[in-house]
Amino acid sequence: MEVRSPEFKQAARIALQDANLQQALGNLKAGFPGKRAAAVARLPEFDQLRDQARDLKNHILEHLDLYLEEFERNVTANGGTVHWCRSADDARRTILDICRAQGAKTVTKGKSMVSEEIGLNDYLEAHGVTPVETDLGEYILQLRGDHPSHIVAPAIHLTLNDVATAFHEHHKRPRSDDPAVLMQEAREMLRKQFVAADVGITGANFLIAETGSTIICTNEGNGDLTQTLPKTHIVVSSIEKVVPTLEDMTLFLRLLARSATGQEFTVYNTLSSGPRRPGDQDGPEQFHVVLVDNGRSDMVGTELQEMLRCIRCSACMNHCPVYGAVGGQTYGWVYPGPMGSVLTPQMVGIENAGLLPNASTFCGKCEEVCPVRIPLPKLMRHWRDREFEQHLSPAGVRYGLKFWSFFARRPALYRWFAGSGNWVLRLLAGKKGRLGKLPLAGGWTDHRDLPAPSGKTFMQQWEARNR
């Protein structure tokens, strides 16, 4: 996928003026946060589970190589194959090779953000294999030639009208504006595809080392049809998703749906352990797990290791006021919101994605709701540190900071500086008590007045009193 993160600011401006998008984003704000809060309130142990989940993820990451070995051993014992892919390109080619070996013409796909990360659809299409997205949201996006704006609700940036229009154009049926009717249309259209597909590709929410299983957590059932009906099932996932045992997976399952959609549990939690067994009447004949690294192993042992705890629940973006204002596509790559602002620079380079970790007020809401307690603001600050070190932050910011800190490191000068600024602002404001315009402060005064100082600086007044 093309990286458009350098255009974040322009994209944000456009997004803020896009009435349709703003209407769609209103649905997000009205939905997920309240539902999560209600689900959390029903489970008194929720915060204790978060602590355990954080600690368990830390344990897993400290032993990541060993759990991955165990996972591979058990997948193989189940009759499946694990493919190790260092880069996105390795992963794409591996998947294409499996499809070609099956002579596959069409593949159905369950929702997978890793497949977005590696740009799988475009690649398959360019090489003669047609991917068919089967998750309702992803299906809508594929019809529109669009990309996900959210890691759980991929079409959250669209309105009912957008969907009705896309379906009317592609399905050649009378237009309906009833979401129930639209969903039935998609159901009917995709039934044929599920059966016709040669290969089914899904993601995985977790990889279970103990049993060599993968699990998908879904509500629609499309992932299950995708992986059960074709002759070959390919799971594309990333290395940090491994967990030791079914019991350990359970800890994360208790947190995942509640954090994501506020559900007690997703409707379908499906464990897959290899291809069909002797005597089985259905199920895939081949089972492949394509494990993607794509920069993750480089995060191990660094400050960013904490980001590898992420279970992709989307709570951080659901609660982020910046995401809520501009939507996911503004972020310009696959992963939006706070988790994306930490991951994207790792995957596409801080020189391309520096605007993302800066696009946060550090309000801390993301960290407050994260089920595995990732300190997202701290990790965004980590990227700001790298950016500053590498002289990537804008010159104006750098010089401005140096100028300011020259004074801040000299108390007497600082007091003089504050006193002068205070005097100028009061002079400019006069009796009005505020400024509507101020040179060099357009970022502030374009949208709001600047309250003027109410009097001389505190230091001036305090010294005068205590002289």
């Binding site: 008194p44 979401p179 060599g212």
Partner: protein, 221 residues
């Protein structure tokens, strides 16, 4: 090639020493112990309350519930449910405890096979119920094709009340015992019928899986 590179990077990131016996032992211990993490109080109720919780949570998840005292009532109950809903075709799992029921044979085409597109209803056993969230556990085998759980418009599931456990952890234990520690190819945890909120966050039932999930709960088993 890629595998070695990935593992080298992980190990150098973790500053793993040449001998990592301590790490290996920690991993082995965790894998072997299969220890439960924190289990919520809600999942640890006495039997009667556990059953009630299962029923409440299943209904909350939009599953439908038919309560029966004895298995002898099951065939009749399934047949009349289907008749009431205008369904005259049923694909079912070939477990003996389903096929040996006293089916009347009136007006209902019953087949034992994997599901196909267009099937109206399926009937399967559930391996157990999980009270914590009103969840059913099913697994695949030669008698129970997975497609039965997903393709038909309606999924009818038989659940013995005695198999309802509190937390998921108990279900894993039960599963390991039943299968001799070998994971079945597919294990399905199912909580209500299929749904999607991908259009404007408005919840619609019946996305790609069954539109209706009906649990026949047998109290005497």
């Amino acid at each position: 090639m890629s595998k070695a590179e990935i593992f080298n990077r992980i190990r150098s990131g973790l500053r793993v020493q040449a001998s990592d016996d301590v790490r290996r032992a920690a991993v082995r211990a965790r894998l072997d112990a299969r220890a439960a993490n924190l289990i919520p109080q809600r999942a640890q109720l006495p039997t009667a309350q556990r059953l009630k919780l299962f029923i409440d949570m299943a209904i909350e998840s939009a599953a439908e519930l038919v309560e029966l005292q004895h298995r002898s009532e099951l065939a009749g109950a399934v047949e009349s449910w289907l008749a009431d809903n205008g369904i005259d075709q049923l694909v079912m799992a070939s477990d003996a405890n389903l096929t040996d029921l006293a089916w009347s044979g009136n007006g209902l085409v019953r087949e034992q096979r994997p599901a196909e597109v267009g099937d109206a209803a399926s009937l399967t056993n559930a391996f157990c119920g999980i009270a914590e969230t009103g969840t059913l556990m099913l697994y695949s085998g030669s008698d129970s094709p997975t497609t039965l759980n997903f393709l038909p418009d309606t999924h009818l599931v038989v659940l013995a009340a005695s198999t309802i456990v509190g937390p998921y952890e108990d279900a894993w234990q039960k599963l390991r015992q039943a299968t001799g520690g070998q994971m079945p190819r597919t294990v399905n945890l199912i909580t209500g019928p299929s749904r999607s909120a991908d259009i404007e966050q408005r919840l619609q039932m019946g996305a790609h899986g069954p539109r209706r999930l009906v649990i026949f709960l047998l109290h005497d088993e």
